[in-house]
């Protein structure tokens, strides 16, 4: 085996693989634990020592999606279970009386998360293009101002925002949350995307201008495809923030626009410490971001290197 400077030796390849796999396992253990807990019975979920092997049940998912009431034995005898879900809750002398709010909250998360991500990336791309290509008066000051909105934790301005939203009628609305998350994300989007667009040679657009296209056409047809990986990476960062955001969601939403993060912990209070239902909610909550990231994966790698190894 000849080892050049560029190809690492067999042994260092094994060491590297071992480290990467170990790291991946360590980071995945909590996720795996949440996934497993979602299929445990409440008793198994809190047993000590923790059970790795257990009898799986869909109890957690049923409890997550339904509201239930305790009934008398006479009532239970008179009304046989209607379906498999009903059967599961009968073992606790309960019947399903209707759906829970989880579906609604989850949908709110989707609308607000993807809505604000789209808006951040859309506005961010246009702003980044302008900052990258034009002589904007006070460009450096504006860019600094945009960045400065990230210099303190967003929650530091929670009270002014709470009051402002109340006066504007934006409290507990989808629009309000989309605007809020966009406001937080836009600085990240502008700065990241400006970096990507700076990397794209101006000649591409100039060639398009010469070839008979307007500036907007050349932006749309030549720059956007080139910036695709940057846009994808930015979109993932924006989505992860707005999807996971908890503090503002607790403060500003309640009945109509509440997202999943503040909703999931409330399950604990409904019928005792229902950890399997919480775990089931958390598992489902992970899925959209996971799918989005997998869809964008092909762009993500080149995106995360921030243009460091382009060409």
């Amino acid at each position: 085996m000849s080892n050049s400077v560029l190809t690492p030796s067999r042994r260092s390849q094994y060491v590297a693989a071992f480290l990467v796999i170990t790291y991946a396992l360590i980071t995945m253990i909590p996720l795996a634990w949440i996934f497993l807990t979602g299929f445990k019975s409440p008793a198994d979920a809190i047993s000590y020592p923790p059970k790795v092997i257990f009898e799986p049940t869909l109890e957690g998912y049923v409890n997550l999606f339904t509201t239930r009431t305790r009934q008398t034995e006479d009532f239970l005898a008179a009304n046989p279970p209607e379906n498999w879900a009903d059967e599961i809750v009968r073992q606790y002398d309960m019947v399903i009386v209707g759906p829970s709010k989880f579906g609604e909250r989850f949908l709110n998360s989707v609308i607000i998360g993807f809505g604000s991500t789209f808006l951040s990336v859309f506005l961010g791309t246009l702003a980044a293009y302008a900052f990258s290509r034009f002589r904007v008066p006070l460009k450096d000051d504006l860019l600094f101002f945009i960045l400065s909105t990230r210099m303190m934790p967003p929650v530091a301005v929670a009270i002014p925002i709470f009051l402002m939203f109340r006066n504007l009628g934006l409290s507990d609305t989808h629009l309000g949350m989309i605007l809020l998350y966009t406001g937080v994300n836009i600085s990240l989007a502008v700065w990241l995307l400006k970096g990507f667009i700076d990397e794209i040679p101006r000649e591409y657009e100039e060639a398009a201008l010469i070839d008979g296209y307007t500036r907007f056409q050349s932006f749309y047809k030549v720059i956007l495809p080139q910036a695709a990986s940057g846009i994808a990476a930015t979109a993932i960062f924006c989505l992860i923030f707005s999807w996971n955001e908890y503090a503002f969601a607790v403060l500003l939403t309640s009945a109509t626009a509440q997202t999943a993060p503040p909703f999931i912990p409330t399950i604990i209070g409904i019928g005792g410490l229902d950890w399997p239902a919480v775990a089931a909610g958390a598992t489902l909550f992970l899925i959209p971001v996971m799918i989005f990231t997998i869809l964008m994966r092909k762009h993500l790698l080149s995106g995360i290197t921030f243009g460091a190894v382009r060409k």
């Binding site: 000649e203 591409y204 100039e206 060639a207 398009a208 010469i210 008979g212 296209y213 307007t214 056409q217």
Partner: protein
Amino acid sequence: MAEIVVQNVRKTFGDFVAVSDSSFTVQDGEFFVLLGPSGCGKTTTLRMIAGLEVPTSGQIFLDGAEVSQTRPSERDIAFVFQMFALYPHMNVRKNIAYPLVSQGLSRAVVRAKVDEVAQILGIDHILDNPVSGLSGGDRQRVALGRAIVRNPKAFMMDEPLGALDAEFRESMAEELRSLHDRMGATTVYVTHDQLEAMQMGDKIIVMNHGVIEQFGTPQEIYDYPASLFVADFIGSPSMNFLPFQGTVRKGATQVLIDKHTIAIPELLEDADGELILGVRPEHVFLTKNSGLPAKVIATEYLGTSQIVTLETAKSEIKARIDADQCADTGGTVQLEFHSPAISIFNEASGRALQFDRGLMAG
């Protein structure tokens, strides 16, 4: 095809003057070269003609119409960029077709035109390849294809050979020139390579610090440089300079340097003070009799000729002499100059003095 007239065009970026009051005319069908060191304003001039920059003042006429403030898309000019700027997300065919698509031509017409252009450039076999895998020469041809496909009024080329390997550059230069001869299209070509400019240009403009130093045919620029800058910039090795102090009068036919008389063409103007005599290396002869004494410092053998570096009392001089002529390093020789080819510059202004060259030639 079109005539391009640039009139008093000036371009500043903040306090920096990129191009100052330039005027010139590119004749219809001419291969016109803008030559100069980097930062001299040649590319800015080209970009103003193409419409990628707007002049601070002045006019640009394309085919008689004033275009200095119009969009590039309205000028019908093609541009070949130094790095080619091929659209990386499109294949070769789409790249060449792109200017036609913007004109809203039908698919069949676009296809036919792209095929025709690809045939001319010899790239019909790579039409469906992505541009990322192409060699430098093929990229160059695709860029040219994109330029010629819509038959524009004029071509702008910004150092199109600059990104190619040295060995490939020469053949591509020939290819470019023969393409030009075949199409007869007005071409404005920017380069910092004087050999390229001499080889390809019908007319050359030499620029420096945003100012046009000289405008003329390659022969005029080489033989009769209008300024010290041009004399130094053009030619390899560049023109030799012999500084001297003195007074020359209109009608004079000789100057005195270090008590040696050197014959010059008949002067058409007076000058005095710090002057510089300029002579090309191939117009310096080594003799054994009378002449300017010099010591041989070094020789470079170049096959058909050799470059001899000589030290005189005034300055170092390079002579291009036959390869078989003997020049011993360390030896002393006398120098004579080919008088009709001598230039004299005023050191303060950098400008060349006027001679009656016609009389000398006759």
